[in-house]
Amino acid sequence: QIGQCVKRWQSSLVLVEHDSEKISTASLSAITAASKLGDVSCLILGDKCQEVANSVAKVNNVKNVYVTEHSALRGFLPEIMTPLIIACQSSFKFDVIIAAATGFGKNIIPRVAAKLDVSCCSDVIAIKQSDVFVRPLYAGNALATIKVLDAVKVMTVRPTTFPPAGMNSGNATVRQGPVLEAETAVSEFIGQELSRSERPQLTEAKVVVSGGRGMKSAENFKLLYDLADRLGAAVGASRAAVDAGYVHNDFQVGQTGKIVAPDLYIALGISGAIQHLAGIKDSRTIVAINTDADAPIFKVADYGLIADLFEAVPEMIAILDKS
């Protein structure tokens, strides 16, 4: 029914996140959101992104692809990308500028909004009309329906609430994007330290197994990895587990970590603080294994098991191995 209320002559610009090889799944979700708001154009910036641009041209509903390659765009610094997005906006006057609410999108989109002197809607979870959006407040404990009064709508969208756009029926033309003019750089990208994993990505996995303080040590996470591998699951953690040093920060699920919405979320030794629940509440099925029958996680769990995870998880692995 969205199509009926949205004015179709609108145009939207999606700022594409990529790793120089392929478009991120989150950006494909942003394209789905953008296509509900009008004709979609994509802007691809990077030090190497011609390949990405060619593949984005095949994404469903994408009408135009603009690409700017420049060595200065390595590291995707917001100070360097923003003028390019503003230049693109000045040329084509989009009604909507949109990106996925990932670390990449959150870094740059508010900067773009301020340059345009308009407000920004973060983490939009539903599009009601061309100017009416729904977004969560207070760690997802309230939902605000907001009418944006600015002529240009600038927003980030929560990838887990919009399905990724397909990549088969698009037929866009790839064009040269705005030219990067030489300017004094105010920041410099030094480098990255990415945690590599064979497991699926946390935000895209169908099954997520998470551990909390109840895991008791980093070594014990081995047990959780064993279970995750049998389920083809990604591994997550609560803030308590991250703060205790059991796993790296980018495993954190919650209000200030990653928002996940898998088909199955298994919480092991996680009490279920408000901030953690904010990151998992949209999961289809939530399973909790905890020794504390009063743990708040049981209030949101579809299936709860009051048990010691150090007994329950090996048992579960044994059952899964048997069949």
């Binding site: 900067r111 329906t145 907001i146 750089a185 099954v207 199955l264 408000i274 299936y303 059952i319």
Partner: protein, 303 residues
């Protein structure tokens, strides 16, 4: 005394031997060493020239289970425990450490909002901030204040106070926007480093920031002046001690209003309604691991 400076005098060691309260320079030429000392002090002063502004917000305490108002106009705030936004507390701690490590000459805390915001400014003063600025916005008008407005207010304060580093929390836990720092940086045309988990002031004109990104960590070098937003892992904030709380009462808390700053709150958004999220259906407890696996299998969630 050993002086190290990452820029000019990497391996310079100045020896000062002290005996009976009299200082004696162990050096062939007093004039040479005094020139070097002066140059070093000059650099030190340059380090000390950081003037840090920390933006703090008063929000409903993170542990409170919020309630949506019956008329769906917002959430209930009356009679609810409020505190400083947890991320702002981290930003504050980092700024205070910069002062303790002699990187910052002055740390100023600022908050926009109704008079109740002064609680958290007093708290900031008790933690070690030199001065607090309260930009008073009446409660009615405050409902329309958005990150862009706050960024414009902060822009004014930055100019007035000649600030060259602004620290903010990465997001406020009430509106969960995660915008103000980026917007302020845009308005000022400064460098930005958001989601900081490590901040190093290792040169007079630059700050090196490790940022938490989706797949791990990233390092950027920002030219000062700069805007940095704090992530959870940046530090562990200290507690205010009773003597410091008492001392804070004597520290300056300057009040300003929007008219003085020449700012009008033009609404960019209109809240149509605030509602509760749809409740999840009531779950069930299972008696054994076998039962759990059977349920998940019959739901088609696992093989």
């Amino acid at each position: 005394m050993q002086c190290k400076d990452n820029i000019g005098y990497k391996h310079l060691t100045v020896i000062v031997s002290c005996g009976n309260g009299r200082s004696k320079f162990v050096c062939p030429s007093f004039s040479v060493i005094s020139v070097l000392m002066l140059q070093l002090i000059g650099r030190q002063v340059k380090h000390m020239s950081l003037r840090v502004l920390v933006s703090v917000k008063r929000v409903i305490d993170y542990a409170v289970k919020i309630r949506v108002k019956n008329d769906k106009s917002g959430v209930v705030t009356e009679g609810v425990k409020h505190s400083i936004n947890p991320f702002d507390e981290i930003a504050l701690e980092e700024a205070i450490r910069m002062k303790e490590q002699k990187h910052a000459a002055e740390v100023i805390a600022v908050s926009c909002g109704p008079p109740s915001s002064q609680d958290i400014l007093r708290h900031a003063l008790a933690l070690g901030v030199d001065k607090a600025i309260h930009v008073e916005v009446d409660a009615k008008q405050y409902e329309h204040v958005e990150p862009l407005h706050v960024a414009k207010i902060l822009q004014c304060i930055v100019k007035e106070e000649d600030v060259n580093l602004v620290m903010l929390g990465k997001q406020a836990i009430d509106d969960d926007c995660n915008q103000t720092g980026q917007m302020l940086s845009a308005l000022l045309n400064w460098s930005q480093a958001i989601f900081a988990s490590k901040v190093e002031i290792n040169a007079p004109d630059y700050v090196t920031v490790t940022r938490e990104i989706d797949g791990g960590l990233e390092t950027v070098r920002c030219k000062l002046p700069s805007v940095i937003t704090a992530d959870l892992r940046l530090n562990t904030p200290r507690y205010a001690t009773l003597p410091n709380i008492m001392k804070a009462k004597k520290k300056p808390l300057v009040k300003k209003n929007l008219a003085e700053l020449g700012i009008t709150i033009k609404p960019h958004k209109q809240i149509i309604e605030v509602s509760e999220p749809p409740p999840r259906k009531v779950g069930q407890l299972v008696g054994s691991v076998q039962e759990l696996v059977d349920k998940l299998r019959s739901d088609g969630l696992i093989n």
